[in-house]
Structure formats: structure tokens, C-alpha cells
Symmetry: C2
Subunit: 303 residues, 2 copies
């Protein structure tokens, strides 16, 4: 399985064959995305969830979506050590997926890695994003259930709103709930969710769960909320819609990566000369884009 | 100018004409990207820099790259109010650029908005990213000079490393440097930069500047570091290389957005039926991507 995921990361030529073979075996796993600012306790929450799901006899996989910084080795290693209690459990699989610089980035590697884990028969796949940005938020939001984690004093709700992660949460967690300011964070969050739901009205009452993940406090309530959401997705028909959107973005990412590869060479779609010409102001950027499109579609340039 | 940037955000049909007209007028502005976790003081730093650059007689524009959450109106409004001291200054221009859900996202809207401001003759354009993720980091990293801001007790260097923002910094700022733990953050950061530079050896000695942006402390040192970096870029020939990469990603984003639009209809590149078929496991994802590619390039599907 680890080798299959490495094929995904490398964009290996055998991937199409592998994915064709796996296609019929998916759709069983509950895919749960976890996101939140650095320092709120995403890894600790992930570790607590692994323990809780294992106690319930479920097989659990974790994908840590890693911006793949050359600096990040140490930090992610720390997370792995924290999860080492599960290292010898054959029904737990933990893996970082590097994505920076990848053709298509997060949107290329993550859904295909998910597909591998799903086909391998895991009951739960947790997708933990390391950064909090547009791509990470989109990856987390394309899970079956998206968990947004906050902590008191980490900048609170307003900062979460700025990071754009409030509207994607199906379940909210206020972690480190034994700290000062937890009540305020919960209150502020409930208020903002209410404001958001007025517009959305999706038929799911978004819960806010308090946890102290390092002690396992609140984990049973979190698992219950996740299970309830999975149940609601199935009953309401939203599960299929979400998975269709996930498939759509996956198809698009693969098609775009393939387009880049076909035209490419070392330069990708755009040659040094063309980029320099735009950078110097000799060619305008749309004319350059038309030239590239002409090569992609095999036509001459057109307006 | 505000209207031109709205055209960019909307992906207006007149954009190619506008960009062709602007092409010869760019290349003057010093483009400075600012990134860092929520709560470190990016907006306050931006405000301090505006004041400092204005005191030096320079015209300053700010692009706040906004994930465009429906929740974020209030938060960004707060930032705007903080910058209101410059509201009546005709040589300061501040604008949020929405991007979520946009064809091509941040990589489509931001460089074109930059192009507008550059052509308009601003001496300095500050690009402040709101989230900290792959896309935001890429946008900030494509500036001429990239500033990474941290604050003591916000999770510090290790968290920054996890967010993948350490290796992109040309200048580092430890803001809120009057707080406990500032010395440790500076030390840790210097250590991590040293580790990184061993591998990179780019001929630029990455400075770490202490600031208390809310009081303007350290702002002169920051401006000096930014100016020194701009000078080094020009002397070393790196400026042209960076701007070529910026142009390259801009051309690519426009070409890809246009491909989506051409194939599109409401569904974009991928129809509901095709996405559902993949989601159900009836079609594998690479076969679906080949089908999409066939339509893009006007050929039949091929292996």
C-alpha cells in the first residue's frame, strides 16, 4: 500500500493501470478531512480519533497532506512519533503525502491516495492538512465530513474566518478547551455558524465539540458527531453529491497534469522565451496564453 | 484602477484587450509578498510599511489576497479600518482580491491585478495573503521579495516549518517582539534558516528583523532589508528570473482557465455523468481524464 501511494506521489506511468484495477473496490471508507490553523492540535486530535476508532474495531488510515517543505522533516517526524503508539497495529496506516511542486499539487495526489486507501478496505480515512490555505481548504472540504479545529487564544473565530475555513465545517472542534477563553471561542463560533447557516440551510445542525485531545477528553462526543454526520449524508443523498464533486476535481487535475506533460518538456506548457517576452512587456499575457492553447489543441492561434 | 481590478476578478471578456494595452508599462514596481499564520500581524505590518514607504515619498499599493469566504467580510473590514489613515492619500491604493471558486483561483487573479498596479506606476506593491497554504505560499513566493512574518507564542518556527513557509522567505520578521519568547523565536528561526541555506546557497544572507508593528518599532530596519533585497535582486540577475517565473505561471493559469471555459458549459471540463460514473467505480479516473482530454484536443481518446 505504501508503494502504491509512492506511485501516486511520483506521478508514475503505471498509475492509470493501478487506478483502473482499484476502481471497482472503492466507496466504503468514511473520508474525514481535518483542518485548522497551525498549533490548534490537528495531529493530537488525529491521534485521539485513531485510538477511538480502533477501540470501536474500525480500520483507520491517515493521510497527512504535507506542503513538502525541505524544512518540515523534523516537524512531521514529531507528529509521527506522537502517533507511534499505533505503529505496530496492522489496522492503522499513517502516511504523509508530499505535494509541493507536484503537477497539479494537492488536488492531484490526495484524491488518488485516498482511492488507494479506500480500495484497501479501511473503514475510516482521516485527511489532515498541514497548511491553511485555499488548496488545503479545498482538499479538506472535499471529504465526506469536514472537521474544522480551533483553539482558544490562537486568534479565535475571526482568524478562522480570515483563513476561510468556517463555511466548510460539518463539525467544529474547540480543542484545548481547558484553557482560558474556551467559552468565548465556543460562543463566538456558534454565533458565526448561525450567521452562515442562515444563508445555507443545509438540513444539518453543525455541532461544536469541546475537546482536550491530548487527554482524550471529548473524543467520544467527536466520534459520535462524525458518525451522525456520515449517517445524515447517506440519508439525505448528499454523500453521492460530495463524492461526485471529489471525482470531478480528481478527473480535472489528472487531465490538466496530462496536458502539461504532453506539451511540456522541461519547461512545462510555457517556454522560457515566451515567459521572458511577457515579463519584459514585449508580448501581452493573453497573446502568450493563446499561443500555448494553440499548441495544446493543435490549431493555429485564434482570438 | 479599481474598475480594472474588478475586471480581473470577474474574468471579464475585455481583459485580453486591457492586458495588451498595459503590457508595455510594467516592470517598475517592487513587488513584495507578505505571508504568515493568522494572527502574527500581517495587516499591522502592512500598515506600518505603507506609512514608512509614504514617508520616503513612494507610491504604495496593497493587494490583500482573500480566500473570499462569506464569513470574512467583517474580518477584512477590520483590516481596512486599520488602514483608514491612508484612505484619503491618493498615492496609496488598498484592495482585496477575491479568488475562491475563481477559474484558476489565486494564480489567475493575483498576477493580473499586480500587472494593473505596476502599470499604474506604483513604486511598491505589497501582496498580503490571508491564508497560509500551498496557493498562498506560491503567490507570496512569486513576488520579487517575499517576507515571512512570525510572532512569539503563535506556535513559532516549527509551526511555520509545518506550514511550509520557511524556505520561501527572503526577509523574516518576528513581530510582537516585545512579548515573551521573542528571543527564542528569533534564535530558532536563525537556526532553521541556516539549515536551509546550507542547501541553497543563493548569495543572499536572509535577515531576521524584530518588529512591534503596532508601534512602528523595527519598521525602518524592515524597509532597509526590503530595499537591500531589491538591490541584490537587480545586481545578481535574479530579478529577471523571478519575474519570468511569475509570467510563466500567469500564462499557464490563463491558458488553463480558457481551456475550462471552452469545454465547459455549466459543468466545466467534467460532466456530472462522467464524475458520477467515476465516483460509483464504473469508470476509472484515468479513463475519464482521457475522455476529457479527447474533447479538449479534438482527437479521439487515446492511451
Amino acid at each position: 500500500m505504501a508503494r502504491l501511494i509512492s506511485l501516486v506521489e511520483d506521478g508514475h506511468p503505471a498509475l492509470p493501470e493501478v487506478m483502473a484495477a482499484l476502481a471497482p473496490y472503492g466507496g466504503h471508507a468514511h473520508v474525514i478531512g481535518l483542518t485548522g490553523s497551525p498549533g490548534v492540535g490537528k495531529s493530537t486530535t488525529t491521534a485521539a480519533l485513531i485510538t477511538a476508532f480502533r477501540d470501536a474495531g474500525r480500520r483507520v488510515a491517515v493521510l497527512a497532506v504535507d506542503p513538502s517543505s525541505p524544512f518540515s522533516g523534523g516537524a512531521l517526524l514529531g507528529d509521527r512519533i506522537r502517533m507511534e503508539q499505533h505503529a505496530t497495529d496492522p489496522d492503522v496506516f499513517i502516511r504523509s503525502v508530499a505535494s509541493r511542486g507536484h503537477l497539479g499539487g494537492l488536488s492531484f495526489a490526495t484524491p488518488q491516495a485516498l482511492r488507494v486507501l479506500d480500495a484497501a478496505g479501511f473503514d475510516v480515512v482521516l485527511v489532515e492538512t498541514v497548511g491553511v490555505g485555499q488548496s488545503e481548504v479545498e482538499v479538506a472540504a472535499r471529504a465526506d465530513t469536514t472537521v474544522v479545529i480551533l483553539a482558544p487564544g490562537m486568534g479565535d473565530g475571526v482568524q478562522a474566518a480570515k483563513a476561510g475555513i468556517l463555511e466548510i465545517g460539518d463539525v467544529f472542534v474547540v480543542n484545548k478547551a481547558d484553557r482560558d477563553g474556551a467559552d468565548e471561542t465556543v460562543r463566538e463560533l456558534r454565533h458565526m455558524i448561525q450567521l452562515g447557516n442562515r444563508e445555507q440551510s443545509v438540513g444539518w445542525r453543525t455541532p461544536v465539540v469541546r475537546t482536550v485531545a491530548s487527554r482524550g477528553d471529548g473524543t467520544p462526543e467527536l466520534v459520535q458527531a462524525l458518525t451522525a454526520h456520515r449517517h445524515w449524508l447517506g440519508e439525505s443523498g448528499r454523500l453521492e453529491a460530495r463524492r461526485r464533486e471529489r471525482a470531478r476535481s480528481e478527473i480535472e487535475a489528472i487531465a490538466l497534469a496530462e496536458l502539461r506533460r504532453r506539451i511540456g518538456g522541461a519547461d512545462g506548457l510555457v517556454s522560457d522565451a515566451l515567459a521572458s517576452s511577457v515579463s519584459r512587456g514585449d508580448t501581452d499575457v493573453y497573446a502568450a496564453a493563446r499561443e500555448v492553447l494553440g499548441r495544446v489543441t493543435g490549431e493555429g492561434t485564434r482570438q
